[in-house]
């Protein structure tokens, strides 16, 4: 834990109260002057920290920036996901950075955020729009003890986790579309991209990429997606606290990853089914150049979508584009 993470943690708990510089210094084993120097640095970053000679420091306001130390200070307990958080001003894609860390053998749980991405990507190499400071884009490195076929579990878990985080932070009611879209109304607000590196029977590592259109305004979307995309800001009519949402998403991901590791994916699947707009609907699924039509019946234990085709047999869908029929 860095000094700044410690100071921000101290300032945040319990909220609204002051903490003395001496107390922080003692716990950290540094001088009060060193604490003061860090407080000044945090102020320069936009943190409004009140310093009173008798009461000590009090956090009044946080800036709308994503800072690794701050996000880490807000995660409860000793989480795996977010044990290390790095924020990039700009990168090609947060998943590119994680891929590099994965190749170097870095342990799971590291998270990379970017304030903008020059080559943000969605599924099938589609572009993911990432205007600076408007969204929340991050990728997580995981090394789950799963078979490659079970990796879909993590896409499903991430979708439910992101939906829960949006709901708890904004009171909006998101829905998920199999496998990786988060919708508000019928418009997409967030997406999950899972990239897998696997051997025949074992996942080597998995990169979970999340993109949330937090504070986009309509003009931030290219015209071609305006009818099908939305943002939290557009739905709420005011900007959202990106750091708060980021923390909520990491917290929910931690919870679901713990459930998957202890073999309780079924609990996630149940939640997912409740959020899912796909199940019970007539859908068409494009897999490569093949299109299947049918009713989305249920979710298999590995996260696959079970489709009852118009010919009456059950197809397992593990990838492809799902469109809902009106």
């Amino acid at each position: 834990m860095t000094i700044d993470t410690f100071i921000l943690t101290a300032l945040r708990s319990p909220s609204g109260t002051s903490i003395s510089g001496g107390e922080i210094a003692q716990k950290l084993g540094v001088t009060r002057a060193a604490v003061w120097a860090r407080v000044r640095e945090l102020r320069a970053l936009g943190y409004e920290i009140e310093a009173s000679p008798h009461e000590g420091y009090r956090l009044l306001n946080s800036p709308d920036v994503l800072l690794g130390d701050d996000l880490m200070s807000r995660l409860k307990g000793d989480p795996l996901i977010g044990r290390d958080i790095r924020v990039f001003q700009e990168t090609t894609s947060t998943s590119d950075v994680i891929e590099r860390l994965a190749a170097d053998g870095v342990r799971e749980g590291v998270v990379v955020f970017a304030e903008s991405q020059s080559r943000g990507r969605g599924r099938l190499g589609r572009e993911w729009i990432s205007p600076a400071g408007k969204g929340i884009w991050f990728s997580v490195l995981l090394r789950p003890n799963l078979r490659p076929i079970e990796a879909t579990q993590l896409t499903v878990a991430a979708a439910t986790a992101v939906a829960r985080a949006i709901e708890s932070e904004t009171r909006l009611m998101p829905q998920v579309k199999w496998p990786n879209d988060i919708l508000l109304g019928s418009r997409k607000v967030a997406g999950i991209l899972t990239e897998l590196s696997a051997e025949v029977d074992r996942v080597k590592h998995l990169i979970l990429g999340v993109g949330l259109d937090a504070n986009f305004e309509e003009a931030d979307f290219p015209e071609r997606v305006r009818a099908t995309a939305t943002s939290l800001r557009m739905e709420l009519g005011h900007p959202v606290d990106r750091a708060g949402l980021a923390v909520a998403m990491l917290t929910e991901l931690e919870r679901d990853y713990a459930r998957i590791r202890s073999g309780r994916f079924d609990a996630i699947a149940t939640e997912w089914e409740a959020l899912c707009t796909t199940l019970g609907r007539q859908v068409s699924v494009r897999v490569g150049d093949r299109v299947l039509h049918g009713r989305a019946e249920s979710l298999a234990s590995d996260g696959a979508l079970l489709l009852r085709t118009q010919h009456g047999h059950l197809e397992r869908i593990t990838g492809g584009d799902v469109s809902l029929k009106k």
């Binding site: 290390d84 001003q89 590099r100 860390l101 870095v106 590291v110």
Partner: protein
């Protein structure tokens, strides 16, 4: 003037067979020299075991049979820090360095990170070449304009 400009000058020199180029401005001076057969003069150890000498181009004492090695480290380009911050050679303490001496880079290759205001800024090579020297120390503060790497441009 940045690496891109220098590279453009080198390209122009090659194209028009110019062997020497000098430009002087208020507090900036650059001199580029190519040798007669069109290959840019380079620093660094050659097969003959000569070690590159710092400073202006120096011809080694003439030794019969042995090739004459001309050393001119000034043809290596410097990647300079575009900001004040902390220099990191790897994206995480657990990860390997972006580049090492001898690494081939393209203009898009990320060579290091400068952390400023707690945010990581990827620094790109902006030139095609080979890393010949790592000048700055990882995890240490760097100033604006401070040289970080030397790159020997390649065509």
């Amino acid at each position: 003037m940045d690496l891109k400009d220098i590279k453009a000058i080198i390209d122009l020199m090659k194209k028009n067979s110019i062997s020497e180029f000098e430009l002087e401005r208020q507090d900036f001076k650059i001199r580029l020299r190519r040798n007669a057969n069109g290959v840019a003069q380079m620093g660094g150890a050659e097969e003959g075991g000569y070690i590159a000498l710092p400073g202006p181009a120096v011809a080694s004492p003439a030794v019969p049979v042995e090739p004459i090695v001309v050393s001119s480290p000034s043809t290596d380009l410097e990647i300079k820090s575009p900001m004040v911050g902390t220099f990191y050679r790897a994206p995480s303490p657990e990860a390997g360095n972006y580049v090492e001496i001898g690494s081939e880079v393209t203009p898009e290759t990320v060579v290091c990170i400068i952390e400023a205001m707690k945010v990581m800024n990827e620094i790109k090579a902006e030139v095609k070449g080979v890393v010949t020297q790592v000048i700055a120390d990882s995890a240490k503060p760097v100033e604006f304009g401070q040289p970080l790497f030397k790159i020997r441009p390649t065509a």
